[in-house]
């Protein structure tokens, strides 16, 4: 079938009542034989980046991580910057699903499903970087407590080992939460299926869900428990990631502010990625009726709030360095703002602290394209935040004789750029084949979803 210039999702959804229209609005995205041209263009571009990613990773595996620019004193370099960047993005999904669920923020139902998907794909991207950075990526099982011929065990007093458990637990629980949320929607896809392949495929993943109220009762309870479990988990993951830094003795890392500062930064960056994806998604997939301007505005407010926390943390780091009277701390922060990495520091400040202030004006925060632009800017800023933390602190520590300057290689840049290819490939496939919006939840919170007592 030829790809049409006309967006098939522009037409109003079919259905006699609100529930049916919600079903149709969401289901037709995965049911149309040919998605809009924009999807093909985006997917093709994502494939190119993915090939670049695989190529650069293959090059690094074959030649060793010397292909990257990380070299003493900046041994962490891009791989860890990228890891912290992606894992940070992977926070918004579960935050929206779990924390906002517990706070009864019903507006979350429009965006939680694809925010969760985004979370999982971001964690996939994040996991690759430390996996490669260990140097011999075929030996990652050394990090797990598996009995082995060397009679050795992992070292559980190390934050790097905590990271292994925190990130893998987070990935597992996010996938469980995501999958459980999709079961009723898979059942909808199964019941609407017009081909045997779709009926069988969605039938298997729907597990025979038929919407029994006795099942809904257990399901709702399970969802609540998972939300309650995932909430501290979200807060713990980036706290544990921050321990990688905070438990080190390095000036600029050795601070107690790191766990809350990292979590706020993760939510900030994660929401920025959600709006970056939500704006094109609602545009191209005809979801403007479900993801409304109100949703964008609420997300922009979260971005502003967490952005201000992040800005406060930037300022407080300087104050504590001054107040501590520790000359190494003072030097590190002066060096951050005015040293060789000043360009990165001021990029970060501009993107994370200054530009998001535009959202004080309702005109900006209710405009989808301004939302998208600020979202992109914050993504850039949050990547630079991790770059600044890692590279400025490592490149100039106590001994001037061992100072250095980190310069990424082309392979570094290709790996970073390529990781977006993996992320967008997975996300675009998700848009095409899985329920993009939690239909059952949206129906439950729609005006028609409330029972009005006995009539």
């Amino acid at each position: 079938m030829a790809i049409s210039d006309v967006n098939p999702y522009e037409a109003p959804p079919a259905g006699a009542n609100m529930f049916a229209r919600i079903t149709d609005n969401v289901s037709r995205i995965a049911e149309t034989p040919t998605p809009p041209r924009a999807w093909y263009i985006a997917f093709g571009f994502a494939q190119l980046l993915l090939v670049m990613f695989m190529g650069s990773l293959g090059y690094v595996i074959w030649n060793g991580i010397g292909a990257w620019g990380n070299m003493m004193p900046v041994a962490w370099g891009f791989p860890i910057v990228n890891f912290v960047f992606w894992i940070g993005i992977g926070h918004a999904g579960t935050l929206i699903s779990a924390v906002l669920f517990l706070f009864r923020q019903n507006w979350r139902t429009a965006i939680n499903r694809f925010a969760e998907a985004m979370t999982i794909f971001a964690v996939v991207c994040a996991g690759i970087f430390p996996g490669m950075h260990i140097g011999r990526p075929w030996l990652p099982y050394y990090m797990f407590p598996i009995p082995n011929q060397m009679n050795m065990w992992p070292q559980f007093r190390s934050p790097l080992e905590w990271d292994v458990f925190a990130v893998s637990t987070y990935a597992t629980v996010s996938i469980l939460f995501w999958y459980m949320g999709m079961i009723p929607d898979f059942a909808t896809f199964r019941d609407r299926a017009t081909t045997t392949v779709r009926r069988v495929a969605y039938g298997i993943v729907a597990m025979g869900w038929r919407g029994s109220s006795r099942q809904w009762h257990v399901y709702e309870r399970a969802y609540l428990i998972l939300a309650a479990l995932a909430t501290p988990l979200v807060l713990s993951v980036h706290s544990v990631v921050s321990f990688d830094f905070a438990t080190a003795q390095l000036p600029g890392w050795h601070t107690t502010i790191f766990p809350p500062y990292f979590v706020a930064g993760a939510i900030f960056g994660g929401f920025a990625m959600v709006v970056t994806l939500a704006v094109p998604a609602r545009q191209f997939f005809g979801l403007k009726r479900i993801i409304t301007i109100r949703h964008l505005e609420l997300m922009n407010k979260v971005i502003m709030a967490t952005g201000l926390i992040v800005g406060y943390a930037y300022g407080m780091e300087f104050f504590v360095a001054y107040y501590s009277g520790n000359k190494y701390e003072v030097f590190t922060f002066v060096n951050r703002a005015f040293g060789p990495y000043a360009w990165a520091y001021w990029t970060m400040i501009t993107c994370n602290v200054l530009l998001p202030q535009l959202h004080w004006l309702p005109k900006f925060r209710t405009n989808p394209w301004c939302t998208l632009a600020i979202g992109l800017v914050v993504n850039v800023g949050m990547w630079f935040e991790r770059f600044v933390i890692i590279c400025t602190s490592l490149s100039r520590d106590f001994l001037p004789s061992s100072w250095g300057y980190f310069i990424p290689t082309p392979v570094d840049l290709m790996t970073l750029g390529g990781s977006f290819g993996l992320f967008f490939t997975l996300f675009l496939l998700f848009c095409r084949y899985l329920p993009m919006v939690a239909m059952a939840e949206v129906k439950a919170f729609s005006p028609a979803g409330h029972a009005h007592g006995d009539h």
């Binding site: 905590w162 019941d191 038929r210 919407g211 006795r214 321990f243 028609a448």
Partner: protein
Amino acid sequence: MSDEHKPAVKAGPAPVHGLLAEYDTPSQILHAAKEIRKAGFTKWDTYTPFAVHGIDEAMGIKMTILPWFTLCAGLIGLATAITLQWWTNAYDYKWIISGKPFWSIPANVPIMFELTVLLSAITTLVGMLLLNNLPHPSHPLDQVRRFARVTDDKFFLMIEASDPKFDDVETRQLLESTHALAIEAVLEDRVTEEKLPTGLVYGLIIVAVASVVPFALAAKARYTKSDSPRIHLIQDMDSQPKYKAQRENSFFADNRATRPAIDGTVAVGDARDDDKFYKGKDGAAWARTFPSQIALNEATMDRGRQRFGIYCTPCHGQIGLGDGMVAKRADSLAQGTWIPPTNMTQEYLRQMAVGELFNSISNGVRNMPSYAAQIKTEDRWAIIMYVRALQRSRSGSVNDVPPDARASLK
């Protein structure tokens, strides 16, 4: 279950499984649920596109036991984390790292938390599926065409025929009184095959058998020996494109990878141009005096005795009689191939030039190997000085004893 009964049941008309009523809105289904509950039915359920608020109370659904599953799993996860970290780091493989205690609760908290959450979450999902009897591939309701909209926009209520209060006519009337849009009898499922398709069964058998193969191979490898090198999937720089000293290399005329030193090459510090000191030679003959580098004093004697004790006594014995532990052991074995170590106090050795003794230690003699590699040059001379003293001690007369000490010998 006997096979004769099955075809008989299948042949007859399908019995009624239950009565299904359709509704349009959450309010209607809530109202209907309350009515059905009031009428005292027990085997019935409502089916909705989403979790309708208040339906639990309307139907009288009891609180699920799922949270207890989660609690138990969480506690198991916590206990696992504590045991795991204690066993691995504080008991089985103690490893000092940064001066941290082996068993330190604060450092173990993150893993305790993660494993608690992990096990709780997995159990919550699995428990939800088990309590809901999922996966549930086929159901009598699947035959009802209108029921497909239960996951879209319609609300249903079904009373099962197996309910003690069920009655074809009265129950239908009751459902009609709840303003049902439609009422339909649901028949027992006679369409779905009870057996799995033959292809699928064979496929599953093949997969099951094939899945055992890797374990069988691993088990075999565990209990058998093999001469072939292990499979070297990842090279880890074990094979490097370079020549080692004793390898062949056809690039050079002599086919050796090692390049021999050019004639006359002397390594730094290896210029041994003093024949007396390094070879024990005085011109063409063996030196009869000690070289000038060796100070003939008590310190050299002590050094010689100490080195003799380390290197010579195992064979030659404590006083050089050739009765060391090695010699005794060899004699007791009586294998006939043993060449006994020399008794150093023999007359011909007493007369031998010190240079020749030095040569014997440096280059070996008969069965004795060279000790040049183990004993430094000056130490070899010190040993000879001590050997000379031993020889003297075995051949002395009473005249060698100072006169005032002779009385004590008596």
